[in-house]
């Protein structure tokens, strides 16, 4: 068994918690995670016991602007419902798979609870990871999927085909008396299938043909491990509605 008093350096502690060194620096400076300082450069050392205690005593919700620690524990996912204006086309950013799940679960749960038809568009692997956490928050998830309240799909092969797919699905659901929709898209999957310019065309077309035409709230989730800094700036400019959304729901 590991010695709880064993000291880990920042790299080891990051690996232990599965979080970045930046997050560790932020939490220690904020005083939420204890650490020891050694040597002339005052380098951080972490007791394994402190890391375990930190992991077990995380709040359910982060404070404003604070990132959720990327720890594999579903109870740390944001679950406070919020209201978003229909037609909102938002972007969100994450830097870990759990970050992606954090963003998706809160958003999709809100949609299911308010009676919206919700769409999760992501690779099979990403969708599986998200659904694992969603199911823990909503035991009736299989029934939601069976009844078409939650629709899970991968992106189509081109952005035009994806827009057409959204149009068909939302039109059909509206004809079946669905009153509102939510869409969570893991955008790297679409970016992989298109050039940078085509990807911008996709976002523009989505805004014009889907977000403005249907009673839908959309989150385009950007994996910052894949997208460049320039792409992050472009995403923020293209999704101005984002700034009306709580910051802790847009950054993970």
């Amino acid at each position: 068994m590991s010695d709880p008093n064993e000291l880990l350096d920042i790299h080891g502690a990051g690996g232990f918690l599965n979080v970045s060194e930046t997050s560790l620096r932020r939490w220690t400076n904020a005083g939420t995670l204890p650490c020891l300082r050694i040597g002339r450069r005052r380098e951080r050392r972490f007791r394994r016991a402190d890391l375990l205690a930190f992991m077990e005593h995380q709040p359910l919700r982060p404070t404003r602007g604070e990132a959720l620690p990327a720890i594999d524990a579903p109870q740390r996912l944001v679950d406070q419902p919020i209201t978003v204006t229909q037609g909102s086309h938002l972007c969100a950013f994450y830097d870990s798979d759990l970050g992606r799940a954090t963003l998706a679960v809160g958003f999709l749960l809100d949609g299911l609870r308010e009676g919206s038809v919700v769409y999760l568009v992501a690779s099979a692997r990403s969708a599986k990871h998200i659904l694992k956490y969603l199911k823990q928050k909503r035991p009736s998830l299989e029934r939601d999927i069976g009844a078409g309240r939650l629709v899970v799909s991968d992106y189509q092969k081109s952005w035009r085909a994806q827009i057409k797919e959204f149009e068909l699905r939302l039109t059909a659901a509206a004809a079946a008396e669905a009153q509102s929709f939510r869409v969570f898209g893991d955008t790297w999957e679409m970016r992989k299938k298109s050039s940078a310019n085509s990807f911008v065309d996709y976002e523009t077309a989505y805004d014009q043909f889907i977000a403005r035409r249907f009673p839908v709230v959309t989150i385009c989730a950007y994996d910052v491990r894949r997208f460049s800094g320039r792409a992050v700036l472009d995403a923020l400019k293209a999704h101005r509605d984002t700034f009306r959304y709580p910051i802790e729901r847009a950054l993970a």
């Binding site: 970045s20 060194e21 930046t22 620096r25 932020r26 400076n29 904020a30 404003r64 602007g65 604070e66 990132a67 950013f93 994450y94 830097d95 950007y222 994996d223 910052v224 491990r225 894949r226 997208f227 460049s228 800094g229 320039r230 792409a231 992050v232 700036l233 472009d234 923020l236 400019k237 101005r240 984002t242 700034f243 910051i247 950054l251």
Partner: protein, 178 residues
Amino acid sequence: MGLSTEPVAAIHGNHLCGIYGTDAGRLDLAVPFLLEGLEKGSVCFLVAPSDVLKDVAEAMKEKRQSLDSDIKAGRLILTEHQKTPAAQCRFFEIAMKKAEDEGVESFRVVGDMWGLRLLVSASEMVELELGFESLIVPNFPVVALCAYDARKFTGVELLDALKDHADTFKFPMRMLAD
């Protein structure tokens, strides 16, 4: 693109991040922010690499004839980054304390963050942001704009910057430039 002269609706204590993707975009963020500070009687700091200091000062001079006397009188302080985040925070502490003793009532800071990133690692950058947040923002009447060059910083670094500047979401439309 022309420089915006519309003032930023900033209040003391705001610690904002701006993101730009061109040199002109950097001017769009920094120039009106600093000019507005000078007009309000704030002491303004521009912390950036030397070429950026020159570009911003030239653009400001087009809008404010008295800029040279502002610099001489210490109302506008142009300086490169200190070598470490701790030294940078110390620099602000000393300069702002001195200015307050001389009767200055407010400050503005623009930091072109790539200048610091050239000196320290990405994770050490957080030291400056957190040090500034805990040592400077609560103790001085300051509005700060940390400007990030989207051409140079990675997506992960920009996400960290947004997380460290929650105030930014109060003034979003003014914090993104070409």
